[in-house]
Amino acid sequence: MICFEEVSKVFPGGTGEAAIADLTLRIEPGEMVFILGQSGAGKSTLLKLITLEQRPTRGRVTVGPFDSETITRRGIPHLRRHCGVVFQDFRLIKDKTIFENVAYCLRMTGTLEKLLITRAVSRVLHRVGIYGKRDRFPHELSGGEQQRAAIGRALIHQPPVLLADEPTGNLDAETGRDVLEVLAQLHLSGTTILVATHDEELARRYATRTLTLRNGRVVEDLFLRPHGTEVF
């Protein structure tokens, strides 16, 4: 479960306006929430508050067992493994193959046994449909394939929550839908998914719930279908 309790975020040195203002929100496990809004509405900031890439100026964010008020610096990497993250620009490590990119995440947590790594990475790459391109470097793949690899990387720790910040922003419409299909499949397997996007059509098609932000405030909170419902 993800909880925002009267959370505000004001960036120092900015205009003084809150990027997120007095947000109180509760996201249950298994939801697939699309966060909608124009550029600058606060969508990315909301996701960054979940991973504590940004700390709230006021209020409290809790993600499962992690609490923004009590978490230590050492606890933050564990929070970030609890929430897989997918970025608009994929953010794969350029000089590592797709396999190495995903495997590196496992090594990061102390898994160094080759056989374990091979099994786990292969399973994840099969799941996102790019196992056949495991030995390619990111620049040798299409945008959609890179995003699938990024999703694979986010899934390697089997996180209960997956955050995607404009995952289709750099992709054409068809490829974007392919990527969303992958996320929808993950949702069906029980993962809580939050997607920040300005594409309302995709939201209507895949979301169980949409949150519309304007000037850092939720102006609409719609429950579209029950959790875990297959979408078509």
């Binding site: 960054k48 991973t51 504590l52 890439e53 940004q54 700390r55 610096r73 050492r74 933050i76 990497p77 564990h78 929070l79 970030r80 493994r81 897989g84 993250v85 970025f87 953010r91 794969l92 490590i93 350029k94 000089d95 590196y104 995440c105 090594r107 990061m108 947590t109 102390g110 160094l112 990387r153 986010a154 720790h157």
Partner: protein, 296 residues
């Protein structure tokens, strides 16, 4: 252990990818360490020479001609009880004459001179703590005050000069060591800062997907360790090559003992790790301040 090799491998890969910077760093480190080793080699040889000279830092305590055998025994007893005295040997008049004759290769000196002009004496070997110019002077003054002692002689000038020389050598060594330490840290700081900059994007990504601070830091520490080890081994190799070449016309020259070389390596590695740690910490903190990868 697996983690150690993983980070060493990561460090090595990162050095390979920045070959020019790595090469420049190893060359600079090798040069600095070579200069330090050269000073150590010179010091080692000076110390060896000084050690040989130390054995000659004896005092000759000449006794009055009318001193009795009982008084000689009393004096021996007194002097032996001095903590500054390591060893003491009595040389009688006749023994002294025999030694002179043996040294000069002459016989029948006594007949020629009519009487033995040499006095009875004690040859005193001072304890190491008292083997410096001031210590010997104090010991000589104290012994001279005893009844029956006529004169005490020792090589005041050369002992003072030797002490002074050793003091300078130690100072130069400490100074060179200090400068080398600073130089190692500066070279590593520049190189590692460059490596961090070149991998900045990767560091940001890793932070965002849950890498710990230690995981981000470790490959750079490994790179620093590798640079220091290569630099230190290279400097030792060049020094040895230089030593082998020089030995033919300086046969007395000795190479550094293996324990020194191992200690040198360990010291360089320790300084290198410290320098790498400080640099990488500062670089990653600076990355955080600029907003790369958030709060962790």
């Amino acid at each position: 252990m697996r983690a150690f090799f993983f980070f060493i491998q990561e460090g090595w890969v990162s050095l390979q990818r920045n070959l020019a910077a790595s090469f420049a760093a190893v060359t600079a480190l090798g040069a600095v360490l070579f200069v330090l080793l050269l000073f150590l080699l010179l010091s080692h040889n000076v110390m060896l020479l000084a050690g040989r000279l130390e054995d000659r830092k004896g005092l000759s305590v000449f006794l009055a001609s009318d001193v009795t055998a009982e008084r000689i025994e009393e004096l021996r007893h007194h002097f032996t009880s001095f903590p500054e005295v390591r060893d003491l040997r009595f040389v009688s008049q006749s023994e002294a004459l025999d030694e002179v004759e043996a040294d000069l290769g002459m016989e029948g000196t006594l007949e020629a001179l009519g009487e033995n002009p040499l006095p009875d004496a004690f040859l005193v070997l001072p304890a190491l703590e008292a083997s410096h110019a001031e210590g010997l002077a104090a010991l000589a003054t104290e012994m001279e005050a005893y009844e029956g002692v006529e004169d005490v002689l020792y090589g005041q000038r050369w002992i003072a000069a030797l002490d002074q020389g050793l003091h300078v050598v130690r100072r130069v060594n400490a100074l060179t060591g200090g400068l080398a330490t600073i130089a190692i840290i500066l070279v590593l700081a520049n190189t590692l800062r460059l490596l961090v900059l070149m991998r900045e994007e990767q560091l940001v990504i890793l932070r965002l997907i849950g890498a710990t601070h230690a995981f981000l830091r470790a490959p750079f520490l490994a790179a620093g360790l590798i640079l220091c080890l290569i630099g230190a081994l290279l400097s030792q190799l060049i020094l040895y090559a230089g030593f082998v070449t020089t030995r033919s016309f300086m046969p007395g020259l000795r190479f550094l003992p293996s324990e020194w070389l191992i200690l040198f390596l360990l010291g360089v590695v320790a300084v290198g790790l410290l320098g790498s740690f400080l640099t990488v910490e500062a670089s990653i903190r600076s990355l955080e301040r600029r907003g790369g990868g958030g709060d962790a």
